[in-house]
């Protein structure tokens, strides 16, 4: 019979751990001898054994009284019908479960979950509705790519802009912030619905939200850097963003926000980087664009998975773009003030020649946006004509 000696260690001082571990190695019905030297060990062991349903008897041992504990069957009983929840680490080409059981709840993927655990309702508990093959990779890139707004940007870099240019920057920042607010709120609303079984997606979305929080911070700080107050926000701009919140499901929201919207947004940030009148604006647009590239990559990877699993879903994406176009038709599209501000930033000054250059640059940016959208739609398997048509139906507000 196995024997453990707890010496003078009290059961209320950690002694229980030794007893529990020794018992755990025995099958139900097997006995363990316990020897102790503390003042209350036998009283406490008896009380604990009674509560746990183990039999205990005292007998004379070589060094005084010793206890014989017979393991009850209760610990095993508890794990009868326990649920397996997949593998913690996915091998190459391996996917998580097609459906995540609500009863797996918040357990770590791969944990053994006791039967009778409370079911927790997660709206997104089907793999094909959330999964992206590269989600884990994109999460790792995002974790490595987090930057500190305080140190990544030289906020004290010297520059001095004419009031009209500074005002143009303030208007563009006002516009960027409301877009970033949408880019934060849309994934955040879905994040809480993702079953934790799809851990990589949960993690990628969480860092996407963190990215957007930083974007909101740096655009807000640049806006006020020279004392400017936020400027104008239009009904058309907000209607366009509002329609993202109304997307019927995660895949459609991701398609509209990330594939079409954030994809276009990268072109805008690249434009601003090229035409930024000051080093702070240049730097923050560069940093934000880098993050956005990951968001677009996740969106593409998810849609690639979804369409591979469910080819018919393409029709729903087409319908979503058409519906959004119809819904936004009566609105004014891109804020005129934003458009003018972009032209002015590209022009650099208010002369006709400069403004002509600026205007042409903004037109080129819009053409680049449309080309990018078409390329991504082609990659998702849309026909050439259809890709062009859907790209053209995309909101004039860029996002």
């Amino acid at each position: 019979m196995p024997t453990i000696t707890i010496d003078a260690l009290g059961l209320d001082e950690g002694g229980l751990l030794l007893v529990r571990r020794a018992l755990a190695e025995l099958p139900a019905g097997a006995a363990l001898t316990v020897r102790g030297a503390g003042p209350q060990w036998a009283t406490h062991l008896g009380a604990w054994a009674r509560e746990q349903g183990h039999e205990m008897a005292m007998r004379a041992g070589p060094d005084g009284a010793e206890a014989v504990l017979t393991r009850g069957p209760w610990a095993e009983g508890r794990w009868l019908g326990a649920m397996a929840t997949g593998r913690s680490t996915l091998g190459p080409g391996e996917e998580p479960a097609a459906r995540a059981d609500p009863a797996w709840g918040l357990a770590a993927r791969g944990a053994t979950v006791e039967a009778g655990s409370p079911p927790i309702a997660f709206g997104l508990s089907a793999r094909d509705e959330v999964w992206a093959v590269t989600a884990g990779e994109l999460y790792a890139q995002a974790a490595a790519g987090q930057w500190d707004p305080q140190t990544a940007i030289d906020w004290d870099a010297p520059f001095d802009l004419p009031p009209a240019i500074e005002a143009a920057v303030a208007q563009v920042m006002t516009y960027l912030i409301e877009n970033e607010n949408a880019a934060l709120v849309v994934p955040a609303r879905h994040l809480g619905q993702v079953h934790p079984h799809y851990r990589e997606v949960q993690q990628a979305l969480a860092l996407q939200c963190a990215d957007e929080a930083r974007h909101i911070e740096v655009f807000t700080r640049r806006l006020g850097l020279r004392g400017h107050a936020p400027m104008l926000s239009t009904a058309g701009g907000q209607a366009s963003l509002h329609s993202l919140l109304q997307a019927p499901d995660f895949s459609t929201a991701t398609f509209l926000l990330s594939v079409l919207g954030e994809g276009s947004f990268i072109t805008l940030l690249t434009f601003l980087q090229a035409h930024a009148p000051d080093p702070v604006t240049r730097r923050i647009c560069r940093l934000a664009a880098r993050d956005e590239a990951r968001h677009v990559a996740f969106g593409m990877a998810h849609l690639e998975h979804r369409l591979a699993a469910q080819a018919g879903y393409r029709t729903q994406l087409q319908a979503a773009v058409e519906q959004r176009h119809e819904a936004l038709a009566p609105t004014a599209g891109l804020n005129e003030e934003v458009f003018d501000a972009l032209v002015l930033l590209a022009a650099g000054e208010l002369t006709p020649e400069a403004v002509a250059r600026g205007h042409a640059a903004v037109q080129q940016m819009k053409a680049d946006m449309a080309a990018g959208r078409r390329a991504r739609l082609l990659r998702l398997g849309f026909e050439h004509e259809e890709a062009r048509r859907l790209s053209d139906l995309h909101t004039r507000n860029f996002m």
């Binding site: 009290g10 209320d12 009283t43 406490h44 604990w48 509560e51 349903g53 209760w74």
Partner: protein, 286 residues
């Protein structure tokens, strides 16, 4: 309204009592036993209800069992202990002092103050006082008794009295105090009595705790079915495990009455109940 096959009385000593018995009620229904329960605020009312025909069976404290037995005998009827928890068997109480206390034997308690639990607590008051009396020490005569009364009428089911006495012991307000052995361990684990801060001066003889007590004239078939279902209840059945956990039971056992003589004597010594079950202690309010 037709009365279900079996109506059980239980004392509402904590909110979880509703969770437990609603759960068991549904489970019994699933097994084809029409079962309902009535909650009482104290065990005295519950035992009296057994004799008024209000309930067929009662989930009784050991003290309520003693009273039910006395009332039955004096009336020439019978009550029976038909089932109990595995954890109700062979409990012991301990009398505890501070680790650095000069008290080494029970006799050292003379002239000192003993903290006990509720006036009607078998484990923290009646049985420890009996244990001391058997050693020749009477409370009130040889040592002072300070009661930590929490929820009288609930027969010490509420742990608060034992905890308050333990806290008073550490604070030096009493020289010794009483509790169930398991609570001494629990208070050590939860920090109420830091490990090593106290020492067990004495341990009582083993005694049994709660049981299901039939009422006089209880429907035998329904009682038999109830006991059969209880004994068949399994800890590895997730439908009942949470309820069993709340009730503090791993396995239901048949009732036995061998574990109550100590309490019978304690009740007489304390003049708590008369031989007919009448309540004698004038300080007992519930």
């Amino acid at each position: 309204m037709t009365r279900p096959a079996l109506v059980m009385g239980a004392v509402a000593y904590a909110p979880k009592v509703i969770t437990i018995w609603e759960g068991f009620k549904a489970w019994f229904a699933g097994q084809g036993l029409g079962f309902d329960y009535v909650l009482y605020s104290n065990y005295e009312a519950q035992v009296e209800a057994q004799f008024a025909g209000e309930v067929d069976i009662a989930w009784n404290s050991p003290l309520a069992w003693v009273r039910a037995g006395r009332m039955a005998r004096s009336r020439g009827v019978s009550v029976e202990a038909v089932a109990m928890r595995n954890t109700d068997r062979d409990l012991r109480s301990v009398i505890v002092v501070r680790a650095d206390s000069p008290l080494q034997t029970l006799d050292d308690l003379r002239g000192r103050t003993l903290g006990v639990g509720a006036i009607d607590s078998p484990q923290a008051t009646l049985i420890p006082l009996h244990h001391l009396r058997a050693a020749g020490l009477a409370g009130g005569r040889d040592f002072a008794v300070r009661r930590f009364d929490v929820l009288s009428g609930k027969h010490g089911d509420h742990i608060g009295g034992e905890r308050d006495a333990a806290v008073a012991l550490l604070a030096g307000e009493v020289d010794a105090c009483c509790m169930i052995d398991g609570n001494h361990l629990a208070f050590g684990l939860d920090g109420t009595l830091p490990a090593g801060s106290t020492r067990v001066l004495a341990t009582t003889e083993p005694y049994d705790h709660c049981n299901f007590t039939t009422s006089p004239g209880a429907p035998a078939d329904a009682v038999a079915r109830f006991v059969e279902l209880l004994l068949a209840m399994r800890w590895d059945d997730q439908a009942v495990r949470p309820l069993m956990y709340l009730e503090g039971v791993r396995q239901w056992k048949p009732g036995r009455v061998s574990g109550y003589p100590q309490l019978e004597t304690a009740v007489d010594e304390a003049a708590f109940y008369g031989p007919d079950g009448a309540i004698l202690d004038a300080d007992y309010h519930y």
